[in-house]
């Protein structure tokens, strides 16, 4: 049966004053808030608010592999489970994980694996659980960013952090950080992630149309935005330890 309010696409994605619908400039990010150590039962965890996206990530590991046959004798394995809450989207999502969630889990896992030293942990697994409780475009990038923070919070040896962002084209103009509506109504979408230890691309997808010049420009504006996100990640990791230090003398868990 139909829902009463339908998802409607606006005709224009820019306001009369040239700004985007939510008042942002072309290369402006949505407000981002990051916090690490939010889930006490996990080995490492992080929470990210990125515009209206709200994402939790928790890391468990190194631990025993279940089912056992997935274990590798010469290295550890990384498994990522990206899931969306039923209420995180406009039409209630079915509770069981769908094809989209499984694909994104794989993409994020492939993106994060290069930064870990899995060969040091034979026979074990690292599991990252990502739960999107509110979604508004760019959840795979938000998930990658928050998962990297959770790994760092877990104290797992890493070559560097990973940061991710979606750039795209709306009404013919190239912009960074597509919101939900820009993603649906826009012309092109390019999620991209960078591993900072070698500054190479670790996640890359594209849907839309672009010529070679546009591709170069996409990569340039993405790099700028990614540096900003990297800074925020570093600040949020440091701030956990600053607050711990300030609370010294207080009984620790």
């Amino acid at each position: 049966m139909p829902l009463i309010i339908k998802d409607e696409y606006p005709e224009k994605l820019f306001r009369e004053d040239g700004k985007r619908l939510d008042g942002r400039e072309l290369n402006e990010l949505r407000p981002i808030k990051m916090e690490v150590g939010v889930i006490k039962s996990a080995d490492g965890s992080a929470y990210l608010e990125w515009g209206n996206n709200k994402v939790f990530a928790a890391v468990y590991g190194p631990r025993e592999v279940h089912p056992h046959h997935l274990a590798k004798p010469d290295r550890g394995i990384l498994r990522v489970f990206y899931r969306m809450a039923t209420y995180s989207v406009f039409d209630r999502k079915r509770p069981a994980p769908g094809r989209r969630e499984k694909e994104i889990s794989m993409i994020v896992s492939d993106c994060l694996e290069p930064i870990l030293f899995l060969e040091l942990y034979p026979g074990t697994s690292f599991e990252i659980f990502i739960e999107v409780v509110d979604a508004d475009g760019g959840t795979r990038c938000a998930s990658t960013t928050v998962a990297a923070l959770a790994l760092a919070d877990a104290g797992i040896p890493m070559k560097s952090l990973v940061s991710a962002i979606a750039v795209g084209k709306i009404d013919g103009k190239q912009v960074v950080d597509l919101s939900g509506i820009e993603d649906k109504a826009g012309d092109a979408d390019l999620p991209i992630a960078i591993t900072w230890y070698n500054e190479e691309i670790s996640l890359l997808q594209f849907d839309g149309e672009m010529d070679l010049d546009e591709m170069t420009k996409f990569l340039d504006i993405a790099k700028d935005a990614l540096s900003k996100i990297h800074q925020m990640q570093l600040v949020s990791l440091k701030s956990k330890y600053i607050t711990l230090k300030e609370g010294e003398g207080e009984k620790k868990r």
Binding site: M1, I5, A58, Y87, V133
Partner: protein
């Protein structure tokens, strides 16, 4: 990194038990005290109502979604509310991936029955047209961190979510189902504020709000849902027995404690104001 294990050592159990015998808890509470509740409502923009509730370190985020469907034939003018619980593997090393297990179904069912039998939701207000169109509400609870007593946390989060509701109001017009431009809110939906209180039992000692270490050594639990004056649902779980006197005592205690808790939480403040 927390020490969560399936098997608790005998020393740890004895420590918890000897504290309880002195009417003390390992976290410093008395036998009939709750940990601290903290509540935020309407935090999820995509949901038609939501609540983020923590009890100690246990945290549940609940969201409300809806659909329009046909009513049950025996209740042609009443909407439907279903409750689901997900014990996310993110929340605890004790939770595993996969379809809902017994524990998550019990959580959803106990919270559901606490609401249903308390006449909490005015289901007739969820009817758009008799026999044809009613609201089907989905209350989905997601456990974000597990530190014991999911049921009481879930109960508060379900009620808060309903209070924070803003459902688009529908009518059957000339073109079928239409939105009136208004919203149904907690005022329209919620009648009673039931609370569910869970007690743990180790040996012959009974106590309120077991935390995770206590829950792991508990032989059994009992959850009692109460409205202001009445008991509306009970669930005994775990392999233990409760004496008839204990149950009488817990019924009385539940009404007393819930009255105090209801005042403290002041849940009506979480109603959404849009109309």
């Amino acid at each position: 990194m927390m020490n969560v294990k399936r098997i608790v050592s005998r020393i740890e159990k004895n420590y918890i038990l000897s504290n309880l015998r002195k009417e003390e808890r390992i976290d410093g509470r008395g036998l009939w005290e709750y940990r601290k509740f903290s509540i935020e409502s309407d935090t999820i923009a995509s949901a038609e109502g939501s609540a983020d509730v923590t009890l100690g370190d246990t945290r549940i985020i609940t969201g409300l979604k809806y659909d329009i469907g046909t009513p049950f034939p025996d209740l042609p003018n009443e909407g439907v509310c279903t409750v689901m619980a997900e014990l996310l593997p993110l929340a605890s090393p004790l939770f595993e991936r996969g379809p809902p297990d017994e524990q998550s179904i019990e959580l959803a069912r106990v919270v559901d029955r606490g609401i249903r039998h308390a006449d909490c939701i005015q289901t007739q207000k969820l009817c758009i047209k008799e026999k044809e169109a009613v609201y089907i509400l989905f209350l989905d609870m997601y456990v974000i961190n597990h530190d014991g007593n999911l049921i009481d946390t879930g109960g508060v989060s379900a009620i808060t979510t309903l209070l924070s509701a803003h459902l688009p109001e529908g009518i059957i017009g000339d073109n079928g189902l239409e939105w009136t431009g208004k919203y149904l809110t907690g005022d329209d939906l919620v009648n009673e504020l039931p609370l569910v209180l869970t007690y743990g039992k180790i040996d012959d000692i009974i106590f309120l709000d077991p935390n995770l270490p206590e829950e792991l050594v508990c032989e059994g639990k009992i959850s009692i849902s109460v409205t202001e004056k009445k008991i509306t649902s009970i669930q005994k779980s775990g392999a233990t027995t409760f004496s008839i006197d204990d149950i009488k005592m817990l019924g009385k205690k539940s009404l007393e404690i819930s009255q105090k808790l209801r005042k403290e939480l002041n849940l009506l403040q979480y109603k959404t104001s849009i109309k």
